[in-house]
Symmetry: C2
């Protein structure tokens, strides 16, 4: 449905900019008042658009929820794919991915708040798309961890769980960054990666607490 | 208000058991359908109690939200305090805390889903209590990390951020455990702590990706 709407519209920049503005305003409203409690009318009010004009840009509340996710995930996936294709070491590429992921989470914390809490409201193809994109991102991280093992950088006992640990440490930032909105993604990334990569490094002397 | 109600009621086990059942049923409903979308009537239906009888156990939807949090947090805090007072190394105590935290998150994933998403609906003293309890738990983790530094076990550049990284990696488990509800907390804890403590261990040779 979203694809059809886009095809029917002129793909001019003005349209795309306005559309993104509406998505961002909706993210702010949903994050503040909840997805269920926010009506299309309030989104129209925030965007200063009458109902008909609003539907020129979005075709349902659920479509907006998908757009809120894609507004974070699509550029993130594009960057992650580029980073994965670079020539440097797996840990160096994971550090870059860590930083772009944290930048997305910190800068778009309303969006992240909304889709992490409300993704179960997505139905049909929208739910499939949401899961697929997240799986693609997780696979990039998993592949880089595996590359690190193959190239002798990392030693990992349980690859899927290690990947979840890495992602979880990053993702949960959306919660505490509500209290620290000016946090620098680079600093956070350096600390997370410093701990994490020392913790899975080949040749580490496994001692502490074991 | 909650305190007053409790004082008025006989503090017998039967009452406490029934009350906990209602809290758990509400957690399940809120997790499935959302806090805003779930009415007191539906909670009464789930508990098979008429409105008046329901109010014998709980005095508002917001009170239930606080109870849902406390049902996870109060026993967790009690265990964390006992663990902190033990004689063993800071890393061994943090491993124990990691395991009880993960057990709480995995076994009470509905409760955690609800209060992490809805805590901003708590007002007044309830909001204060929520924040205070979470701060107490975070301080226990922070203190044990600091003890580990003092005793020469850990080397930590940024203690508050390291604490947030440790907690975030654990907390985010509530999200992916929805897909893996039978995950063993001990196994998850071993993997998280294995990575984390190797990553902050004194004498580690900082190399990977730096």
């Amino acid at each position: 449905m979203v694809g059809r709407t886009r095809k029917q519209r002129p793909s001019n920049t003005q349209y795309a900019i306005r559309r993104n503005e509406i998505v961002d305003q909706a993210a702010e409203l949903f994050a503040r008042n909840g997805y269920a409690a926010t009506g299309i009318r309030e989104i129209g009010d925030a965007a200063q658009l009458a109902r008909g004009a609003l539907y020129y840009y979005i075709n349902s509340k659920e479509a907006l929820l998908e757009e809120i996710h894609d507004r974070v995930m699509d550029p993130l996936l594009e960057e992650a794919r580029k980073i994965k294709a670079l020539e440097c070491s797996p840990s160096a590429r994971l550090r870059m991915i860590s930083e772009v992921l944290l930048r997305a989470i910190i800068e778009r914390r309303d969006h992240v708040w909304v889709f992490l809490h409300e993704y179960r409201s997505l139905t049909g193809q929208r739910r499939v798309n949401f899961k697929r994109k997240r799986a693609v991102f997780e696979k990039i991280v998993g592949d880089l961890l595996a590359e690190g093992v193959d190239e002798g950088e990392f030693e990992i006992d349980d690859p899927p769980m290690t990947s979840l640990a890495f992602l979880g440490m990053h993702h949960y930032t959306y919660q505490w960054v509500q209290r620290h909105p000016d946090m620098d993604p680079k600093i956070v990334s350096d600390i997370y990666c410093g701990i994490f990569f020392d913790g899975i490094r080949v040749g580490r002397d496994k001692k502490a607490g074991s």
